[in-house]
């Protein structure tokens, strides 16, 4: 992982503080999340304390600090989905998996992410799990949806 991160850092020669966000995005893109090690390396490179980077990164929903689960559940929280009840859907998923958005279940199987409009407003509320779309989802369906993924693992 260290080498991967150093590879990314190499793409930013003479980086200043303003490279922080793009760097964080690149690292997350590559290793899936912002590990402690990654943040420490970036901090060392840009000469920014880890607490500051953590502060900045937690300001944005897009960053996660745990590796993604095998099934990554993206819950659209865009306007259309919101109006049609995506908050209750999110809450149902959170209580089903016993984790919050941004976290990963202990068995490493599931993780949740809140995302902005994913361009499928006609199908709102929308879930995207590892590229598979679930349209017009209701809170009641969550149990079944999650179980189908769980079954795949049995």
């Amino acid at each position: 992982m260290k080498t991967k991160i150093n590879e990314i850092l190499k793409k930013y020669p003479q980086a200043q503080r303003d490279s922080l966000i793009p760097l964080l995005q690149d690292v997350q893109e590559d290793i899936g999340y912002l590990s402690e090690e990654a943040i420490a390396l970036i901090g060392g490179y840009l000469n920014i304390p880890t607490s500051k980077i953590y502060g900045v990164a937690t300001f944005y929903n897009q960053f996660r600090f745990e590796p993604k689960g095998k099934y990554h559940v993206m819950v659209c929280r865009g306007t259309a989905c919101h109006v049609l009840g995506s908050l209750t859907v999110l809450e149902a998923i959170q209580s089903k998996l016993k984790i919050k958005a941004g976290q990963t279940s202990r068995d490493g199987l599931f993780s949740i992410e809140e995302v902005a409009c994913i361009g499928a407003c006609g199908l709102a509320p929308v879930l995207n799990i590892n590229g598979e779309f679930h349209a017009k989802v209701t809170a009641e369906q969550i149990d079944e949806i999650i179980e189908t993924y769980r079954k795949r693992e049995e």
Binding site: E36, A40, G43, P49, T50, S51, Y54
Partner: protein, 573 residues
């Protein structure tokens, strides 16, 4: 250039470039502030300081708005007062409301403002903050539920100490002050200086309590002894209605005996011991081509900083333990032996102006055969609590003298409380060691006062010595950079983490009145002026302990008990 503004119907002159707040304060007009800190760039975060400016639709923050010609300001119009009151009500809406049990009860800016703005009913009630307390640190207790997000702690930690252990984490109503990855201060780069505590307006930050364990030790069959740091006797007076800075050494000693401590020792004695060892080490380093510049090692926050951020410079740190730990080691060896007490039965307490001393006392290096040299560290604030708890009338009791041995000090040892004091004491003794004569003029003005850096070049017995004194780790770091870049005219550097030294330590009574710190500092210098024993090597008890026990500085025995080593620390930094 002067600028004329009208405040509450009266014309006042302001200086170009200054803020409304600074202009009105100079004329004796106050507005409440929360996020503002003197000498820091304003952030305008809390909006407590808002004022009404004629012709402006919005209220303006006095702490950050520069004066302009012709401004017409109202500082207490109904609109302004109402706005401030609403801010306070909002801050209280998710606040825990357990003032009765709060560390800062009666000394809380939020509480004072609520009273001042007549907030006497709950109009807005929000969901209470449910955050976990962070008590992972040996020194600092953080309760984010009481935090009002003023950001003062964050700024001190970053700007004064260059540690940046904490920052704003998260966003919106979920924002919290925390260490990286919310992992707790114990694994962060926090150096335990407590400067964040000193600026926190509420009870969100305080020291880890040692009062309870001291009380139970006193009420057990342990042999409980206490030492007090040089700055303590000049720092507690103000908490008992006496003039700030008054030296109450004698009555404090009496009070400590009334509380039940069997022996009262003076850390200034072991400060003298430190000087004997440290000056010998310095001379040795200079004469044998050792690593220079040498850094003082009395400040445990500074030591931790070097271990974390400057591991390459660990070899520059003096190997001397701090006075607290020297005395701790001597109490459980020399003292135990001469008194015939089982060292394991001694419970050794120290009273320090410092929170980092709690951490230091728990370092593995500060133990002998698995027994800690210091069992509990009380801050000045905790001592005040103890005295109040025992109902001791500090004004009317008879003063008493400290115990011997380990209780007699020189005034040089007392100087350790001030930034520059360790250096001054060291120079007095080094001069004597190098020339065999006493310094004629004891007072070394160049390294007194509260400048952020003090430097001095002296020539003693053909030896050219450059010394520097810094306080505040940002100032220390600046000097380290110069040394890294090749500066070689300095051989000895005194570093204290708290700006101004221990008199302004993180364990001191909480006050925003800089005059109090100055009064403490002056009081220490006044003591030095009148005392007859002005240098560590003249202290008769120091002579005695070397004759009877250590033989000479840097002897095998002193290395065993009075010196230590440091280690690189991997923390989230």
């Amino acid at each position: 250039m002067n600028i004329n503004i009208e405040v509450n119907g009266k014309m006042i002159t302001a200086k170009k470039g200054e803020t409304i707040l600074s202009a009105i304060n100079r004329k004796g007009i106050s507005v409440p502030t929360l996020c503002y800190m003197k000498d820091f760039v304003p952030t305008g975060a809390c909006r407590m300081c808002v004022v009404e400016v004629e012709g402006r639709p919005n209220l303006i923050t006095a702490c950050s708005y520069p004066v302009e010609e012709g401004l017409r300001i109202k500082t207490h119009s109904p609109r302004v007062v109402n706005a401030r009151k609403t801010i306070i009500e909002l801050l209280l809406s998710n606040h825990p409301d357990d003032c009765l049990y709060c560390e800062r009860n009666k000394n809380c800016e939020l509480q004072t403002l609520a009273e001042q703005y007549n907030v006497r009913e709950r109009r807005i009630s929000g969901a209470k903050n449910l955050y976990k307390v962070d008590q992972s640190s040996a020194s600092i207790y953080r309760d984010p539920a009481k935090c009002i997000l003023c950001g003062r702690c964050v700024r001190v930690c970053e700007e004064v100490e260059q540690v940046t252990a904490i920052d704003f984490v998260g966003r919106g109503n979920k924002t919290i002050i925390n260490s990286a990855f919310n992992k707790g201060l114990n694994v962060s780069s926090c150096v335990n200086c407590g400067q964040c505590i000193m600026v926190c307006p509420t009870g969100a930050l305080h020291e880890i309590d040692h009062v309870e364990k001291v009380l139970s030790a006193i009420n057990s069959n342990k042999y409980v002894v206490v030492q007090h740091a040089p700055s303590i006797s000049v720092s507690i007076a103000e908490e008992f209605g006496l003039k700030p800075g008054t030296d109450v050494a004698g009555v404090m000693t009496a009070a400590l005996r009334k509380i039940g401590f069997k022996k009262v020792f003076d850390t200034s004695f072991s400060a003298d011991l430190t000087i004997m060892e440290e000056s010998a080490e310095l001379i040795q380093r200079i004469q044998t081509g050792g690593v220079l510049p040498m850094f003082t090692s009395c400040c445990p926050a500074w030591v931790k900083y070097v271990e974390e951020f400057r591991p390459d410079m660990i070899k520059n740190l003096s190997s001397c333990k701090s006075p607290q730990q020297m005395l701790g080691a001597v109490i459980k060896s020399y003292f135990a032996e001469i008194e015939g007490i089982d060292r394991e039965n001694i419970y050794s307490v120290s009273i320090m102006p410092c929170t980092a001393k709690k951490f230091e006392s728990q370092r593995e290096e500060m133990t002998q055969k698995g027994v800690a040299d210091i069992d509990a560290v009380l801050t000045t604030r905790e001592l005040v609590k103890l005295i109040k708890m025992y109902d001791i009338d500090l004004v009317n009791i008879e003063p008493e003298v400290t115990d011997t041995p380990l209780g007699t000090r020189s005034s040089a040892g007392k100087l350790f409380g001030n930034s520059g004091g360790v250096m001054e004491a060291a120079l007095r003794t080094a001069y004597y060691k190098l020339t065999g004569e006493e310094l004629k003029n004891y007072k070394i003005d160049e390294i007194r006062g509260d400048d952020k850096r003090k430097e001095l070049k002296v020539s003693v017995a053909g030896l050219n010595l450059g010394v520097a004194v810094v306080s505040g780790l940002t100032n220390a770091e600046e000097l380290l950079k110069e040394i890294e870049a090749g500066r070689s005219d300095i051989q000895f550097i005194e570093v204290m983490t708290c700006p101004g030294g221990c008199v302004a330590g993180g364990g001191q009574p909480i006050t925003f009145d800089a005059k109090r710190v100055k009064a403490r500092m002056k009081s220490i210098y006044d003591i030095d002026k009148v005392d007859s024993i002005k240098a560590s090597h003249q202290n008769p008890e120091i002579k005695e302990i070397y004759e009877k026990y250590f033989k000479e500085p840097n002897s095998e025995k002193s290395h065993h008990l009075l010196h230590t080593h440091y280690q690189k620390r991997n923390v989230l930094k």
